[in-house]
């Protein structure tokens, strides 16, 4: 059983939902990333989405774009991101790490080289935003051979045929995008999300995470009531952006605890 599956089944056994924070690797500075990862786990993260910085993050809103820009100022490329995961794994062998990013950095490294290096570093799953399943069959196979999950997005506009196609290619969990827009966009409509998630459940046993519009603890609580995992990205990056070196880890920890409490309540 993969680390992602293990976490979901143990949460399910305890009647709990997964909290998945997102950070961009190298934001605000590469020296902080591994400490941030450990802080996220210590303050309630069940798994972590680690963003690979990219110069042209088309699906991201301004908050995560700025995180990429900060990381790229320090030349944090995919190779360095994998080194960070490896360092994190020396102390934490349980918490799943899901890399989230765009196709080009992966293709620049080479698909085969990447899947092997990611496995060696201790990556558990990969979500490549601009790889729809029909364009990345070899990549899915490469991840599978190396024991990693292929996480895919589902959106409010994905029709029934699309959902069928994606749930058959995905493993680990499904990531439902809660609104039409980029990361960190306007408020999500919880009733619509609820109906969509219920629809997806009729087609798959995979856990379903919801993200893209979870702005606060109250929203996280509502999402947790209908999904298996709550993904918090832009809000987490805002906390990082608004911190200085001294209060960075404590601010992250505080936000995480608020979210955790709300989700568990």
């Amino acid at each position: 059983m993969s680390r992602i599956q293990t976490v979901f089944s143990s949460l399910k056994a305890n009647n709990k939902k997964a909290l998945i924070p997102y950070i961009t690797a190298g934001d605000p500075h590469p020296k902080h990333t591994v400490s941030i990862l450990h802080t996220l786990v210590a303050s309630g993260a069940d798994m972590i989405e680690l963003g690979i910085p990219f110069s042209d993050p088309m699906a991201d809103g301004p908050v995560i774009q700025r995180a990429s820009e900060r990381a790229l100022k320090h030349k944090v490329g995919l190779k360095i991101v994998l080194e960070m995961v490896q360092e994190f794994r020396q102390k934490d062998t349980k918490t799943p790490i899901i890399l989230m990013g765009y196709a080009n950095p992966i293709e620049a490294m080479g698909m085969e080289k990447f899947t092997q290096a990611a496995k060696a570093a201790g990556v558990d799953g990969v979500l490549t935003v601009d790889y729809p399943p029909e364009e990345c069959k070899d990549f899915i196979a490469g991840l599978q051979v190396n024991g990693m999950d292929s996480i895919f997005l589902l959106s409010p506009t994905s029709d029934a045929a699309r959902v069928d196609l994606i749930v058959n290619q995905a493993s680990g969990f499904l990531y439902y995008v809660s609104l039409k827009g980029v990361t960190g966009a306007a408020n999500l409509d919880i009733d619509e999300v609820k109906a969509r998630v219920a629809g997806i459940r009729t087609k798959t046993d995979l856990p379903i995470g919801v993200g893209f519009g979870v702005k606060d603890a109250a929203t996280a609580k509502k999402v947790a009531a209908i999904a298996d995992a709550v993904v918090v990205g832009s809000r987490m990056v805002v906390a990082i952006e608004q911190s200085n070196e001294d209060n960075l880890l404590s601010n992250i920890s505080q936000l995480m605890q608020e979210l955790r409490t709300a989700i568990d309540a």
Binding site: D56, G61, Q65, E69, A103, S155, V177
Partner: protein, 400 residues
């Protein structure tokens, strides 16, 4: 001979092209793909398109024998396809009309566009005004500063111009931002992409709408001189004017197709916008796989060209394919070479060419000298240079 038949059903030109977008855009692209399939051979749609090209744009654009320039250069005879004479001053309007007519059929009241130099933005604002559509144009904040007259033209035409502050603040970032807008407003918005890039069906659709250039040229050359040219030369940023003139000639033997990229300060300096000529690696950006200027980590690097319209780190996937199958050749021309050709055409022919097109002209000068006097070069003069007079004046240290 097997007829050229690209792309495949999913927009692949060999390994290039495709649909590399987030799931949030898949449905919109699928709808567009089906809509375009429905209308691309529809007589009524094509008739409306042809009517607008004739009566609104002023097509067919003439072919002109640049005799004085030919004599000055010495060598092959150089003919110009006069896209500069189109309404709004460039080839861009052909495509915006095609896409806007589709938007109308899809019932979308709002169109968006990205623009670099502003020509595509102006062409989109123009057709939006004519059809009564709301129009928002994304433009890098650097380009907003460099291209003030075009920004004002768009506003006169009723468009909203949104300066883009992210990334390098140029064309590629404007495209990112337009995509973000589209994802958010997908239900009421049609995204009019200005070049043969982006996810399928854009590269094919834009090529088809622009292929009126080559289709006309084929007929006009026969009428004028009774034969087809030995070489066709066009500048390539994303590559829409080049695909427009190349496409109808792909199956015509013995016509060399030559795309001219921007060498900027020189390929050896790294400050250029010539992914094909500089042998950049293959990558994925803006929804398609193509040759891309990037660093070792796969991040897109900043490009340089005197001409904002060529200042793009990628290139349309069909050009990548034509390069690989060796049906087209790609070369690069520096800022200085383009400027020299710009002045030559002004002085010998009374035509002020766009800086983009000046790259094609500069290569025509180079090539013509190596060819016989009975050989023929056809250059796609893709736009006029009125928009560039501030840039040229500044380079000559003249204050207007």
């Amino acid at each position: 001979m097997q007829m050229y038949d690209m792309p495949d059903e999913r927009g692949h030109f060999g390994q290039f092209g495709g649909t590399f977008v987030a799931e949030t855009l898949v449905e919109a692209l699928e709808k567009l793909r089906l809509m375009y399939e429905k209308y691309r051979h529809d007589p009524e749609f094509l008739a409306e398109f042809a009517y607008d090209l004739k009566h609104f744009v002023g097509r067919p654009s003439p072919i002109y024998f640049a005799e004085r320039w030919t004599n000055k250069v010495g060598g092959a005879q150089i003919y110009l396809k006069r896209e500069d004479l189109n309404h709004t001053g460039a080839h861009k309007i052909n495509n915006t009309i095609g896409q806007a007519l589709l938007a109308k059929r899809m019932g979308k009241p709002r169109v968006i566009a990205e623009t670099g130099a502003g020509q595509h933005g102006v062409a989109t604002a123009t057709i939006a005004a004519r059809l009564g559509l709301e129009c928002v144009v994304y433009m890098g904040s650097e380009d907003v500063k460099r291209q003030a007259p075009n920004v004002f033209r768009m506003k006169l035409l009723g468009a909203t111009v949104v300066p883009v502050e992210s990334g390098s603040k140029t064309l590629k970032d404007a495209l990112n931002e337009a995509m973000r807008d589209w994802v958010t407003n997908v239900s009421n918005t049609f995204y009019i992409i200005g070049t043969v890039a982006g996810p399928h069906p854009y590269p094919m659709m834009v090529r088809d709408f622009q292929s009126v250039i080559g289709t006309e040229a084929k007929q006009q050359m026969m009428e004028m001189i009774g034969r087809q040219p030995d070489a066709i030369i066009a500048c390539v940023g994303g590559g829409s004017n080049a695909m427009g003139i190349f496409y109808p000639y792909i199956d015509v033997p013995n016509v060399r197709l030559i795309g001219v990229e921007a060498a900027g300060h020189g390929l050896e300096t790294g400050m250029h916008a010539a992914p094909l000529t500089a042998n950049s690696p293959v990558g994925v950006l803006h929804g398609n796989r193509t040759y891309l200027m990037q660093d070792a980590d796969g991040n897109i690097i900043e490009t340089h060209s005197i001409s904002a319209g060529l200042d793009y780190p990628g290139v349309g996937p069909e050009h990548a394919w034509l390069k690989d199958i060796k049906r087209a050749e790609y070369v690069a021309i520096t800022d200085d070479e383009a400027m020299a050709a710009f002045h030559n055409l002004c002085r010998t022919e009374g035509i002020i060419p766009a800086l983009e097109s000046s790259h094609a002209l500069a290569h025509a000068e180079k090539m013509a000298k190596t060819m016989r006097k009975d050989e023929i070069i056809l250059v796609n003069l893709s736009g006029r240079g009125d928009k560039d007079i501030n840039t040229v004046a500044k380079l000559s240290n003249i204050t207007l």
